[in-house]
Assembly symmetry: C2
Homo-oligomer: 478 residues x 2
């Protein structure tokens, strides 16, 4: 097995092959040009040795073969909106940008599918689908600027996942290139298919470590005719958590079930002119969608479920302006927090819905013990909580206490039966914690899979999985 050269200068031979394979105008090597391709939306940056713009599968395959032979790391990149450093070339190597492979190849409403190149922006696809009466459910907050390829690489979802699922639930098949530079097809064009192992879902969420996606066949969903929005405020998190359980236990699944804790509400109240009842300890934003004729019944079902002990106020939006007003509290939160603490740590853990109250209580305890201000919001219907640690990065003591706090929080998440990431992925940020969640045997199996797909270990080395003995080539040059 090759070792990955960590930032070792390219040989003249390698350079000339790279120039030929990349094609005219598709290669950057000047550090100033490469610089912006070295970051993502984490605070990490590393300068790639070169940037190649992917244009077609054959060139990608040739590039992979070249890198595999030379032991040069190859890091797939959409638009760099990830939050875990997964596309940061921390060991040097080549960043392969998919931004120019941005064509929608086929839209087939009759078969509820779309075939796209990986560089298509999520929002661009949605705009193309809307006139046909369809949408693709995954809706990360960054939809306007993130690519479908990135959504697939990190299995990124958003509020709609509570009803419509994540990319793994909304993708029928892929074309991809493995770490040997060989192209292959996974999956089917249909919603059923049981021939061979499920490589589609294996590649989705693998953070560019198994294969480079060159084309995706996406499962489409008809656009709902109508939507209704509610805002419910509760005395405390336990009341809100009970409401979430009650809402999820009845047959009308909301298309969004977002939550904010007391600290989040206090933040919003302090920085904006939003009308919230006194004593609000937790807030839920609830949306239902469906056929126009059913929408009021759906709203009534969810309204009934939301009425648990501790409900302070239930407010319904009847116009677009009222919907915008209701969402204002939720949407103002992230920018406001970024304003207070530009270097806030934004976590992405998940706990079973029934343990959410316990989890938030545990976080309040941790905040008290460590002195770190913690603000929580997120996708309550999935138990997916964005835990925000508002730290001052110049206060070394606080940074260290934040590290301890995160560590304790991960332990709490796992004790409650949760998972360390719901939609952001692992990348570099959580790599060292993965071994706490996934047992050694499963990690060994994952390493074997990695070895099968990428024997030279060149595809995004060192991301996603922790270093293990049997996968030591990934770490040896780290």
């Amino acid at each position: 097995m090759n070792r990955i050269a960590s930032g070792v200068a390219f040989s003249a031979n390698f350079r000339s092959s790279l120039t030929r394979i990349a094609g005219d105008g598709c290669l950057l090597t000047d550090p100033a040009d490469c610089w912006p391709y070295g970051y993502d939306n984490s605070r990490r940056h590393a300068l790639p040795q070169a940037v190649v713009f992917a244009t077609d599968e054959a060139r990608i395959a040739a590039l992979v073969r070249l890198c595999a032979e030379a032991g040069v790391a190859l890091i797939a990149r959409g638009r760099g909106t990830g939050t875990t450093g997964a596309t940061v070339p921390d060991r040097g190597g080549i960043v392969l940008s998919f931004e120019r492979m941005d064509r929608i190849l086929r839209l087939v409403p009759a078969d509820r599918l779309a075939v796209v190149q990986p560089g298509v922006l999520n929002a661009t696809l949605q705009q193309a689908l809307e006139p046909l009466g369809f949408f693709w459910p995954p809706d990360p907050t960054s939809a306007a600027t993130c690519t479908i390829g990135g959504n697939l690489a990190y299995n990124s979802a958003g509020p709609r996942a509570v009803k419509y699922g994540t990319p793994r639930d909304n993708t029928l098949g892929l074309r991809a290139v493995d770490g040997c530079g060989e192209s292959f097809r996974t999956g089917v064009l249909t919603t059923k298919g049981v021939v061979g192992y499920d490589l589609t879902r294996l590649v989705i969420g693998s953070e560019g470590t198994l294969a480079l996606i060159t084309e995706a066949t996406l499962k489409l969903t008809p656009l709902p005719e109508a939507r209704r929005t509610l805002r419910a405020t509760y005395a405390d998190i336990h009341a809100a958590a009970a409401a979430v359980s009650a809402i999820m236990a009845q047959p009308v699944t909301p298309c969004a079930l977002e939550f904010m804790d007391a600290a989040a509400i206090a933040t919003v109240r302090h920085f904006t002119e939003i009308d919230l009842p006194e004593g609000a300890g937790a807030l839920l934003m609830i949306e239902v969608d469906g056929p126009r004729a059913c929408i009021d019944a759906a709203l009534n079902a969810v309204t009934a479920a939301a009425q648990v002990a501790g409900l302070l106020e239930l407010r319904r939006a009847d116009s677009a302006a009222e919907v915008a007003a209701l969402w204002k509290a939720r949407k103002s939160l992230s920018p406001t927090l970024r304003h207070i603490a530009p270097k806030k740590i934004n976590e992405d853990v998940v706990v079973p819905v029934s343990r959410m109250g316990e989890f938030i209580e545990g976080l309040e305890r941790l905040s008290h013990e460590t002195g770190i201000r913690i603000v929580n919001f997120g996708h309550a219907g999935n138990g997916n909580i964005h835990v925000n640690l508002l730290i001052d990065p110049d206060d070394a003591g606080e940074v260290e206490r934040a590290r301890d706090c995160l560590d304790a929080m991960f332990s709490l998440v796992l004790r409650l039966g949760g998972t360390l990431s719901g939609e952001h992925g692992v990348g570099l940020e959580k790599r060292d914690f993965v071994g706490r969640e996934i047992d050694p045997v499963a990690l060994r199996l994952m390493s074997e899979i990695k070895r099968g797909f990428d024997p030279a270990g060149i595809l995004n080395p060192g991301k996603g999985l922790p270093p293990v003995a049997s996968n030591a080539q990934d770490e040896s040059m780290g």
Copy 2:
């Protein structure tokens, strides 16, 4: 890598270890006792050398280690309702029956999940869930007698898949034992989770070739309050196919969208007293479910979509008796065909919904060319067609023509962008055709995965994947 002993007699040492590991009353070695564990619902049978009743994960792990060391094949079995020979021990070895691991371990409505042992019957689980207001969507026709473990092994679905998906869409996590005899956990307890590769969906549908499932965490769905049933008859298959496309393109997804072609209708008409309009060339059974307050609107939406050119009659059931009457035509079909042709070949192919008309037309042509009577019905909403070849197994010429006909049909399916199996799986029946659907690179990757999970090649050897050079140990003793 070990070679798999094909029916070679067990050594005295192996026998004594096997007796110890299996535990009291959990081992069969008398051929008369083992006989019934050698078949499934295909026409295949092979005598296992021993049958072990799985009781707990530790014993399963010990048994796998024993078999891996001795190179003895180990074949997981639920209740033998599969149709592809996947559980038939065609190379001898040990059948591991999960029928006694039949406990429902936990039902957690608040988290919409159930934890079960693999031997729980599908119907038993549904009965346990009903009082809690939930169900588990996969509903194979054999639900009364098939196990959850079997459903997972073959990713088996049924009519409800059109709305609610297959086991891969309805399972959160697994416990399993790999081919080295090591236990591991996959997945999460929540509907989101992106830590590590998706081993859950990889193991689901792998037909017992990667790992033995010892426990499953299933995603539950709230029971709909109401259901409505329609029967639509059309002049020909093209009209029915257009209706299917129209129904699937609007926002109310039916919970069943079953179809019968002209030959199926003729069969039903000939053998039963069912009232069907003259000239009916195709029939659809359409069901919608949902909240009581919405059900009529849902029915209206689907009714409108079903009204395409060529519609002869649209009949709605208003009572349970009428629903039963409407389903009678569809449900009488399989027994009737079995009565006409006890050895009928029941295929399970899938084509994109938009190609269904073309596919059925191609089958009519094939029937004409080969003289084989072909009757088609199935799950139209998924494009999943059960193609029935009514052959006389004593007519050697017909059997050979049927083989050619199947071959031509598989080519047609793949030309139309379909897949060879929607819910039955591959087993032995379709193993030799898999290479036509899955490209050599993807097959190599699947073999690498197999090798990583089961280096000794003892878990259900020779099933699911075709023999390939790099996986030759599976075939060398065949």
